[in-house]
């Protein structure tokens, strides 16, 4: 090549070196400036990068105290840690903690946030250590499995689990991309197969079931399966669950529209129909189900309360297609709620009544005791009277009189007691009736509200309590009532006995003076043995324990927050009727949209599988044969590296830096190629008689110079990023070389005639370039460097 025939190659080498050095310096300077400029801006916003490990947001009002406590913790747990204060914003202060190098290890970070748990003024703690990657969605057992592998990766300082995620701390920011790629490779080795049971289906022994699946898949399919089933569902799962509940809640309040389709009319699912409404408006329907000549529909615009008539029309209102039957649960509920609202305050007083009943029952018990004593006494008296008939001769009139007085008094007491028992029995029976009625009213209310709402739950609790109270009252008072009832028929007899005794007592004086035989006969009539026996038979003391059970139930009932229930009812009353059918339908549609394709988590078994060489279809079939329930499957990655804002910003910044550096390097290379080497390339092209590019030395020269310049600058500036692997600068260099090879002549005018003149002088290539061509060229590094060589 012409170049090598002269010492111009020296000039080229010098040009290259100077270009590379200047390009490198310029690139570095620009990179540093960008770092400095952007880095500063971001640091003031989010704290010094790579320096802080923990951000504590504290309440500004308690700042001093809190800071004191934090300092104490730092002193005992992390001596040497630095605490710095960030900005105060909206009553909150930001504190940054930077732990010493020696604390940067797993054991410390595992508990780092816990150290501050007990300090009251801290509202938020969040990990700030950078550079860091966070892997989310890792099931516990998957995390355990992967953590060691990740910790062993190059440039990973340490790792630690944090809830559902695994934090990966990296040695230096520049390795982040590299580590991320490696982690992704690791994560991609696995996949997770979720086996979901229907919602609300309780599945026992989930973990054991998972292990069973694991074993079968291992033994029969030789798969490296791992059971990573966890019992608590994820947040996302509970969100989906909530949405499902919300949907069923809304559905239960949407008006149901039943259409009896007229013969000759045809309705299909999705059809739009119309019901005329007040004020010449209309209610739009969407048919949701058709079964023979009965269709159901939902309201898409308007509200069923405004419906006029019972006909439903096709969408252009021309033809009546059926008869409509509207069931608006909100209207019903509205009615029900207002009814309940009247009922609930009464409940309180009912239980207060019950309270007094309890007191009465206690009294009843005392009365029964009393009855027992009275009966005993009467028995004694009776025996005494009976004894008199045996020894009639020894009768002491006064003693008999005293005994008779006593008996009379006792009988009077007995009558009072039994009458009281009767009253109480009625009270108890009343309560039982009342409880039964209450129970059925609440059950009726509940039947209208088949929803898992708070309100429903309260009502449910109330109903259960009342039912139990009723059972206890019935069970425990039945015996008492039976007993009372057994006294009842005796009452008349007792009263007549009482009459006898009274009469006898009145005539006793006279009688004693009469014949003793007559007296004895009368006495026999007064001492009523038979009645005593019957009294003894009914006299069975009621158990105190039974009353205690009733009392306990009452206490429970009194604990119910009737005021709360009333408030809730009022709230429901106010809010529910305001929801229009169209709004409910729109909401349900929206929920459906979100829930579409989303597996709603019920109980769930998670299996960790290898990502490759697994026929999921076969495995799913196998699992289906092993589980009787209607299960669904979903497969997902084991974990996902989530972007972390700070990291992201710094990543962007470092990329901005890289981009700026690369752009500078490219610019330097391009400029040098265009204006410096371009001239040389043009000269080589002009002098070359070969028309085919690959035998053109200019072609090789272009490529070589572009590649050497660009890759050297890139290498020297240490640019490294996933976007620019080492070979990319070579590729770009080649591309650049090609462009320059094509375009150099456009930019550089090369005076061929002058070159020819030089040749005629006997100048070699170097001399021609140095003395003739370069001095005439556009300004550039080559021209500057050449100045020391020109003669003129």
């Amino acid at each position: 090549m012409l170049l090598f025939k002269s010492d111009f190659i020296k000039d080229v080498v010098i040009l290259l070196l100077v270009t590379i050095i200047l390009g490198t310096l310029l690139s570095l300077v620009i990179g540093t400036i960008s770092d400095y400029y952007f880095g500063d801006a971001v640091d003031s916003l989010i704290g010094d990068y790579e320096n802080n490990d923990l951000l504590l947001i504290i309440d500004e009002r308690e700042k001093e105290e809190t800071v004191e406590k934090i300092k104490e913790v730092l002193q005992t747990k992390l001596p040497g840690a630095k605490l710095s204060t960030g900005i105060n914003l909206a009553g909150k202060s930001n504190l940054f903690i930077s732990v010493g190098k020696k604390y940067k290890r797993r054991a410390v970070f595992l508990n780092l946030e816990d150290y501050f748990n007990d300090i009251k003024g801290i509202t938020t703690t969040s990990l700030m250590t950078e550079p860091r990657l966070t892997i989310n969605g890792l099931k516990n057992k998957a995390s355990q499995l992967l953590e060691d592998k990740i910790a062993d990766l190059d440039h990973v300082a340490f790792t630690f689990p944090d809830g559902d995620s695994l934090e990966v701390i990296i040695d230096e920011a520049q390795f982040t991309a590299q580590v991320k790629e490696k982690i992704n490779t690791l994560l991609n080795d696995y996949q997770m197969l979720g086996i979901r049971f229907p919602i609300k289906e309780e599945v026992d022994n989930l973990v054991q079931l998972g292990s069973k699946l694991e074993k079968v898949l291992k033994d029969d399919y030789g798969l490296a399966v791992k059971n990573i089933t966890e019992l608590n569902s994820s947040e996302l799962g509970s969100l989906a669950k909530t949405m499902t509940e919300m949907k069923s809640f809304l559905s239960s309040y949407a008006s149901t529209i039943k259409i009896k389709v007229f013969t000759g009319q045809k309705i299909e699912v999705g059809d739009k129909l119309i019901i005329p409404a007040e004020d010449k408006k209309k209610i739009d329907l969407r048919v949701s189900n058709v079964n023979d000549m009965i269709a159901t529909a939902v309201i898409t615009t308007g509200d069923s309360s405004a419906a006029v008539g019972d006909l439903v029309y096709n969408s252009d209102s021309t033809t009546a297609v059926g008869k409509v039957e509207i069931n608006n649960p909100r209207q019903k509920l509205d009615y029900l709620v207002s009814e309940l609202k009247k009922l609930v305050p009464q409940l309180g007083s009912i239980f207060n009544d019950a309270d007094s009943i309890l007191a009465n029952l206690e009294e009843l018990f005392a009365t029964l005791q009393l009855l027992k004593g009275t009966t005993t006494e009467i028995e004694t008296l009776n025996q005494k009277l009976a004894g008199y008939t045996a020894n009639i001769e020894q009768l002491d009139g006064r003693e008999i009189k005293a005994n008779l007085d006593s008996l009379e008094h006792r009988l009077e007491q007995l009558v009072v007691i039994i009458t009281r028992l009767e009253f109480m029995r009625d009270l108890i029976l009343d309560l039982r009736v009342e409880l039964t009625q209450l129970e059925s009213r609440i059950n009726a209310a509940q039947a209208e509200l088949r929803v898992g709402s708070n309100y429903y739950n309260n009502l449910q609790q109330l109903a259960e309590n009342i039912a139990q109270l009723k059972i206890k009252v019935v069970d425990n008072t039945q015996e008492i009532i039976d007993q009372i009832n057994r006294y009842n028929p005796l009452l008349k007899e007792i009263k007549s006995w009482q009459k006898n005794v009274q009469d006898f007592n009145a005539v006793i004086d006279k009688l004693i003076k009469e014949s003793p035989q007559e007296f004895a006969k009368r006495l026999t009539a007064v001492s009523n043995k038979d009645l005593i026996t019957r009294l003894q038979q009914v006299r069975q003391p009621a158990s105190e324990e039974k009353l205690a059970a009733v009392k306990e139930q009452l206490v429970k009932l009194r604990a119910i927050d009737f005021a709360g229930i009333t408030a809730q009812l009022e709230y429901i009353e106010q809010s529910l009727p305001k929801l229009k059918d169209e709004e409910i339908t729109a909401s349900i549609d929206l929920l459906d949209h979100y829930l579409a394709g989303r597996a709603i988590p019920g109980a769930e078994i998670s299996l960790l599988l290898p990502a490759q060489n697994v026929d999921l279809k076969v495995i799913k079939e196998e699992i289906k044969t092993m589980i009787p329930q209607q299960i669904s499957f979903y497969d997902s990655p084991v974990g996902i590296i989530v972007p972390n804002l700070r990291n992201q910003i710094y990543q962007i910044l470092s990329e901005v830096k890289i981009v700026l550096t690369v752009v500078t390097a490219l610019l330097c290379t391009s400029l040098s190629l265009l204006f410096d080497h371009g001239l040389i390339i043009t000269s080589l092209q002009e002098l070359n008689t070969e028309k085919i590019f690959y035998s053109n030395p200019a072609f090789y020269y272009s490529l070589t110079m572009a590649v050497i310049t660009l890759s050297s600058i890139c290498y020297l500036t240490g640019i490294e990023s996933p976007y620019l692997p080492w070979w990319s600068s070579i590729l770009v260099g080649v591309g650049l070389g090609l462009i320059i090879f094509k375009e150099a002549a456009v930019i550089n005018d090369f005076a061929k005639a002058e070159f020819k003149a030089g040749e005629a002088f006997g100048f070699n290539y170097a001399q021609i370039m140095r003395q003739i061509i370069i001095p005439a060229a556009k300004p550039g590094l080559l021209k500057i460097l050449n100045q020391r060589q020109t003669y003129f």
């Binding site: 025939k5 005076a751 005639a753 002058e754 020819k756 003149a757 040749e759 005629a760 002088f761 006997g762 100048f763 070699n764 001399q767 003395q771 003739i772 001095p775 005439a776 003669y791 003129f792």
Partner: protein, 246 residues
């Protein structure tokens, strides 16, 4: 002396020179004439290998020009001057610098080169324009600078390729006068001129080569050629000369 033997040259399998053979003695002036595209420039360029011939032999004062290596060739060119049809001046250099340029790689000190430049510029009557740039000169002046630049190396072979072809006709004479003058002042130098100026050729040539389609169709002393031309081409030049004379 110069001995050219069977010089051949092809461009893309098209033969442009088909065996050019001629001799020139020291001090002789050779004029090459012929129609456009017949190979005159190619011939003259082959002499200092600005164009590389395919075959043949060139002996210049005993040196086989075609066997020289690059270095030797460049050395040889220091004593062969070339005047271009389009002057080929260096636009960014002044007249003086242009003239000095061929000597800058010699061992001569700058002052000596300046002195010599002064001399040759005086010879072509342009001494007072030495600080001008080529762009400010007329065509005739430019070509005189080209001639001065050729003369400064004191060539023993001076090659002029249609030196007046690019000139305004009224400027042709000042250049031809300079050339005529220089062919007479040096008795060792061989001058080879390609030109269409028949009268001029008649005046200065010791040998005329008539070239047609890459071949010398006739060569000889101008008096011979223009009085009794052997070739058709010679006939045409005779008629042309007669026309001028009439």
């Amino acid at each position: 002396m110069l001995k050219v033997i069977n010089l051949t040259k092809s461009y893309d399998s098209r033969q442009v020179l088909r065996g050019i053979t001629f001799d020139a003695q020291a001090g002789q002036t050779v004029v090459i004439m012929g129609p456009s595209g017949c190979g005159k420039s190619t011939t003259i360029r082959c002499l200092n290998r600005l164009t590389e011939p395919d075959g043949g032999k060139i002996l210049l004062n005993g040196i086989s020009v075609l066997e020289l290596n690059t270095e030797q060739l460049l050395k040889l060119r220091e004593k062969i001057a070339f005047v271009f049809q389009n002057f080929n001046l260096i636009e960014h250099l002044t007249v003086e610098e242009n003239v000095m340029l061929p000597l800058i790689k010699s061992d001569l000190v700058r002052q000596e080169i300046v002195t010599r430049a002064q001399q040759v510029l005086e010879q072509v009557q342009l001494a007072e324009r030495k600080n001008d740039y080529p762009a400010n000169l007329s065509g005739g002046q430019k070509q005189r600078v080209g001639i001065a630049r050729a003369l400064i190396i004191e060539p023993n072979l001076l090659l002029l390729d249609e030196p007046t072809a690019s000139l305004d006709p009224i400027l042709v004479k000042e250049v031809l006068d300079v050339i005529e003058d220089l062919t007479k002042t040096q008795d060792q130098r061989i001058v080879i001129i390609v030109t269409h100026q028949v009268a001029f050729a008649l005046k200065v040539a010791d040998l005329i080569l008539l070239l047609d389609q890459g071949q010398i169709v006739e060569q000889g002393h101008p008096e011979e050629i223009f009085s009794q031309p052997q070739s058709q081409l010679g006939q045409k030049y005779k008629q042309l000369l007669d026309y001028y004379r009439s």
